[in-house]
Symmetry: C2
Subunit: 139 residues, 2 copies
DNA sequence: CCTGTGCTTGACGCTTACGTAAACGTAAAG
DNA sequence: CTTTACGTTTACGTAAGCGTCAAGCACAGG
């Protein structure tokens, strides 16, 4: 039988920072807040695939405007161990809360997009009017 | 002919605060940042429908995680005067930027919702397993 | 006239999410 | 051995978005 070669790839802090376009400071800060827990080789941080995924989730959470505290609860849900019943019920409750939040946001976004489209239409109409006026002036 | 009674309704700062569930401090802060420009009767602020609408837009912007500076540019688009060509072009450009931003957010939201659904399914499966185990124990 | 209610303007405080040095360790390259 | 690259911790700085007094005006009711 073949050994299945698990890549077991790791990254330095600088590599991760470059990939996700954040500063080293930011990554260390996330660790300080308990969002990342890289391995230590001596004093140096070594990031595993798990950390990479978590950083991705954190940054997506940020794009969505969540605070780091909120992001922590979200991200921790992803790799929660099966756990006991109370823990599972709590998780399901958190999920319900998060979902409501996200659906509110999507609703807000859709409204805003609709209204932006209106403003845009007005703008383009005004612009067209302006330009046809100019054409009129030349005659 | 009848006079059409325009309501011309106005609100005090406390009324607006109660309606939108924000503090007076918050409303004054938004004014300080140029987001609201209520009438003054003597020293007292009087809010007109326009201000009310703007406050609504501001708070929606906040729910979406925009900074007050970003919200300012968005909200100001809504009641921009027809203006000159350069202004209109600028506005259309802003709209394009905002739309891209919002569509990125919606994409992030949809992804997150999908993943939450997965986590939820896992949770419910684990929970069901736990409970069926307990039932098994009793026999 | 006094009290209460609602409004006003400062002005300092606090939290979040990092930025920005300063000062130092380590390991490879020249 | 010195430079360079890359990493580390400690710690103070900062911008945003308000909270929280403090101190004062204005007007209605008792």
């Amino acid at each position: 039988m073949h050994n299945i070669r698990v890549p077991a790839e790791t990254w330095s802090i600088a590599e991760l920072a470059a990939e996700y376009d954040v500063t080293l400071r930011t990554i260390r800060f996330y660790e300080d807040r308990g969002l990342l827990t890289p391995e230590r080789r001596g004093t140096v941080r070594v990031y595993h695939p798990r950390d990479r995924v978590r950083l991705g989730l954190i940054l997506r959470g940020k794009r969505l405007g969540f605070s780091l505290d909120e992001i922590a609860t979200i991200v921790d849900m992803y790799d929660a161990e099966p756990g006991e019943e109370g823990q599972l019920v709590y998780l399901l409750d958190q999920i319900t809360t998060r979902r409501a939040d996200l659906e509110q946001r999507r609703h807000d976004i859709d409204e805003t997009l609709r209204e932006l489209a209106e403003v845009e239409a007005r703008c383009e109409a005004d612009l067209a009017a302006l330009r046809s006026d100019r054409r009129f002036d030349r005659r």
